[in-house]
């Protein structure tokens, strides 16, 4: 939103035009940005008031990021459908009432209500009503009701090099790191604005330069640790703390770092820090091409740093109140593993399994085993963001670094961390049982 006269040295493309845009009636920042003819048309209201308002916000955000221009995206994932209060609903209604419709394929993140199992919700009726209205507003704007924090587990996920605008911190880090798709950290509001316009600021992780690692984590642990799921959780916590917002490359891992483990790693890193991308040498798709920038800092990660990160996520009680797994949403492979661990057993505490409705539809037999075990399958939402788990005495056990990180603040519960087999064994025993790295 800058004046046109104060940067005489900038060359402009013939189709570009610089306009002064006012968001909410105030000049919002100090940079100017090149606009394509399409941008100008949208800002002139040719795609309607919803798109015009959305592009104003994209431009304002882009200017704050130091972007010189916007780029086209071919997909979006919306985090704004999770209810955090009246402001989010007011904003979605403002866009939907202004005729906003997404112009790229757009998936929806977890929301506050499990529409397939609505009776699981234990919160107040007013919040539930507004949370549903929020979900409806996003569907009204043309988003797919996928309701998952793991859109990378859907069949039509982005490919290497795709430019997308994704919200949800764990999805962002997975898209960049594991898929090689390109997204910045889109917050609520900006995500839908990008989807309504098909445009995003051309900066940072959308560019080659922004994707290069500037620091390295050198993993030096016994080989057997690479077989432990929780090792990747601990590594993620360490990565988030050391990297903050920077792109790191991780050395010392091998093909045992599969998608589910990288999911856990990224989700933990995006909880303890603001990590939006990492490389794993020899594993992730851009590690060979983009990991080789000058490394400013190397950090050695050893058994004590991993163990200390894991201990920081877990209490010392053995009393067990409930179990919750599947944060981020459990994959097909994780549900099959769970079913094989649970087969013929019975939980004596509430056992929640968070996953997506699409994944549930793929593995009905595993779902049946989980339910015979006494498990409750939660779709469309997650147990740490909405009131589903009732009053518990004792810890809630989880295999998720992200759940362990946020649940104490969100739910006021004590957390016990354990592997997936630990979680099942504990549920059967009725007390916290841990093995491996935490024993």
């Amino acid at each position: 939103m800058g004046a046109t006269v104060d940067r005489p040295h900038r060359s402009r493309a013939a189709t570009s035009e610089v306009r002064l845009v006012h968001v909410g009636g105030h000049r919002s920042s100090v940079r100017e940005m090149r606009q394509s003819a399409g941008d100008t048309a949208i800002l002139n209201g040719e795609l309607g008031e919803g798109a015009r308002l959305a592009l104003e916000l994209v431009v304002a955000a882009g200017e704050s990021m130091g972007a010189d221009e916007l780029l086209d995206i071919n997909g979006a994932h919306i985090d704004g459908c999770l209810y955090h209060g009246v402001a989010g609903l007011d904003f979605a209604r403002r866009l939907a009432d202004a005729g906003g419709v997404v112009v790229v394929p757009t998936t929806l993140n977890v929301a506050s209500i499990d529409l397939l199992h609505p009776n699981l919700y234990r919160g107040d009726a007013d919040t539930a009503r507004r949370a549903r209205q929020l979900m409806e507003a996003y569907v009204e704007m043309g988003c797919r009701p996928t309701w998952t924090c793991a859109p990378y587990q859907l069949a039509d996920r982005p490919a290497l090099g795709d430019q997308v605008a994704w919200g949800e911190s764990n999805a962002i880090v997975f898209a960049n790191s594991v898929l090689g798709a390109r997204t910045n950290r889109y917050g609520d509001f900006l995500d839908i604005c990008c989807a309504l316009t098909g445009r995003a600021p051309a900066v940072d992780l959308h560019t080659d330069d922004g994707r290069r690692a500037t620091m390295a984590l050198d993993v030096e642990v016994p080989d057997s640790w690479l077989d432990e799921d929780l090792f990747y959780v601990g590594l993620g916590i360490v990565l988030g703390r050391v990297a903050g917002t920077r792109v790191a490359t991780i050395t010392g891992l091998d093909s045992r770092a599969d998608e589910d483990r990288l999911k856990a790693l990224g989700a933990a890193a995006a909880s303890s820090g603001a990590v939006a991308m990492f490389h794993v040498e020899g594993i992730t798709p851009e590690s060979a091409t983009l990991a080789s920038a000058p490394i400013e800092r190397r950090t050695r990660v050893d058994t004590s740093s991993i163990a200390s990160a894991l201990r920081g996520l877990t209490g010392d009680t053995t009393e067990l109140g409930a179990v919750s797994v599947g944060t981020p949403h459990a994959s097909v492979a994780e549900l099959r593993t769970l079913a094989s661990l649970m087969d013929g057993m019975r939980s004596v505490v509430p056992f929640y399994v968070n996953t997506s409705r699409d994944v549930v539809a793929e593995v009905p037999s595993a779902i049946a085993v989980i339910e015979r075990f006494g498990g409750t399958v939660v779709t469309d939402t997650c147990t740490y963001i909405t009131p589903i788990i009732g009053e518990v005495t004792g810890a809630v056990m989880t295999n998720s670094g992200k759940w362990a990180y946020y649940a104490p603040g969100n739910l006021g519960v004590e957390v016990a961390l354990g592997s997936l087999p630990d979680c099942v064994e504990s549920a059967v025993a009725g007390k916290v049982v841990v093995s491996g790295l935490l024993s």
Partner: protein, 122 residues
Amino acid sequence: MRALVAGRASGDLVVLGEGLSLWGGYEPSTGRVVDRRHPQYGESLAGKIVYMPHGRGSSSSSSVLAEAMRIGTAPAGLVLGEQDSILVIGSLVGRLLYGIQCPIYVGDLTELGEGVVRLGEP
């Protein structure tokens, strides 16, 4: 200091020792830090000028900031060590919907001094 969301604000300075994810870490109903691992756990940020070295965590923090602005429990203004578009968009939407300001600047802690801090003064 560089304006990310220009505007005037003043208030007591609160320096956060670490980045804070507003989502999961800040309660709009009270204006307090609820992340138990955060050095400023329990402190109220409502009406304060808050210095944050960098953003952190959830991309839902935009919603939480806008909601806090609606309720009146948001910081008066933010100074960030590094730019953070998630907070910027929350502030812009709060202003768009409710006409409330929460200016955001990028700057160094040493530029702020102590006690009451004013942002956006000429």
